[in-house]
């Protein structure tokens, strides 16, 4: 029977320690790699929007009796001329997004509760729709909804 001498045991433990070091190196390298690459993930933010119940139903026959409204709707129509969006607020043409912002800033002082309705034509890229939504939200309107084009509704 071999009795392990205390000297030999000490050497064995040293062997185990030295064999583990490269593995720990590799694991730490992997950890660092994953932590580092995760910093390249672009953070997404969200724009919450509450859909209203009238949308999707037949607009001529509201499901609920419409609540008494003190304020007129602010309809922002977004047309598309092929290259750039063309905006109108309640039938009045607006030159630019900054201009929309100015006008909405004036309106929000008077009636911040007024519902804003975005009405883009089908061809408008979503980026421009969200821009208008963003402007209305930044100015301080709380109720912003999307209009749906009639042809989509029937089809």
């Amino acid at each position: 029977m071999r009795i392990p001498s205390p000297l030999l045991r000490g050497r064995k433990e040293a062997d185990v320690d030295s064999a583990m070091t490269p593995m720990i190196d590799v694991v730490f390298l992997l950890l660092i790699f994953f932590v580092w690459t995760s910093s390249f993930v672009i953070v997404e933010h969200i724009l919450p929007s509450q859909l209203s119940k009238q949308v999707g139903a037949d607009p001529t026959q509201p499901v609920d009796p419409p609540p008494k409204q003190d304020f007129e709707n602010i309809v922002i129509k977004i047309d598309w001329d092929g290259n750039r969006p063309v905006w109108t607020i309640n039938e009045q043409p607006v030159a630019s997004l900054a201009d929309i912002r100015q006008r909405l800033a004036v309106i929000v002082e008077i009636q911040s509760e007024a519902p804003v309705i975005l009405h883009p034509v089908p061809g408008v890229p979503l980026g421009h729709v969200i821009e208008a939504y963003d402007v209305a939200k930044l100015v301080g309107f709380a109720k912003i909804s999307f209009a749906v084009n009639p042809q989509t509704e029937t089809g």
């Binding site: 992997l30 933010h45 919450p48 949308v55 979503l126 963003d134």
Partner: protein
């Protein structure tokens, strides 16, 4: 001792890699619209369906392609499983036409899902 540490490290690596892959699966690379008023996404408890909309108008749910006509049915199914507070997250390309977004909004209202959010970037990427 050493084999156990081996196994533990293997498990750690496995979970790191798999979590990385699962995150990638749910986030299709899309040029999202830009909005300065975007909120931080802190709510992790609300059940959520993510709808990806590519620039060419194709819809993806969970990596699977879906036709706009099937959307109402699919959302109805999920709402029945997850409950009424279901949130629909629209990750749409900024180049996608509004006509491709409309059917999603309509399907949500038809499926009685009122909580809809748009995924955006805070600034131009």
């Amino acid at each position: 001792m050493t084999p156990m540490i081996d196994v533990v490290f293997l498990l750690i690596i496995f979970f790191l890699v798999s979590s990385h892959l699962s995150r990638q699966e749910s986030s299709v690379e899309l040029p999202l619209p830009v909005a300065a008023s975007g909120d931080e996404d802190t709510d992790q408890t609300t059940p959520r369906v993510t709808i990806n909309l590519r620039s060419d108008g194709t819809l993806l749910i969970g990596g699977r392609r879906i036709e706009p006509q099937q959307l109402t049915e699919a959302l109805n199914e999920v709402r029945q499983q997850e409950g009424d507070e279901l949130e629909v997250r629209i990750r749409a390309s900024r180049q996608a036409p509004y006509s491709a977004v409309e059917p999603i909004l309509l399907a949500c209202t038809d499926a009685k899902v009122w909580n809809v959010t748009f995924a955006v970037y805070r600034e131009e990427q």
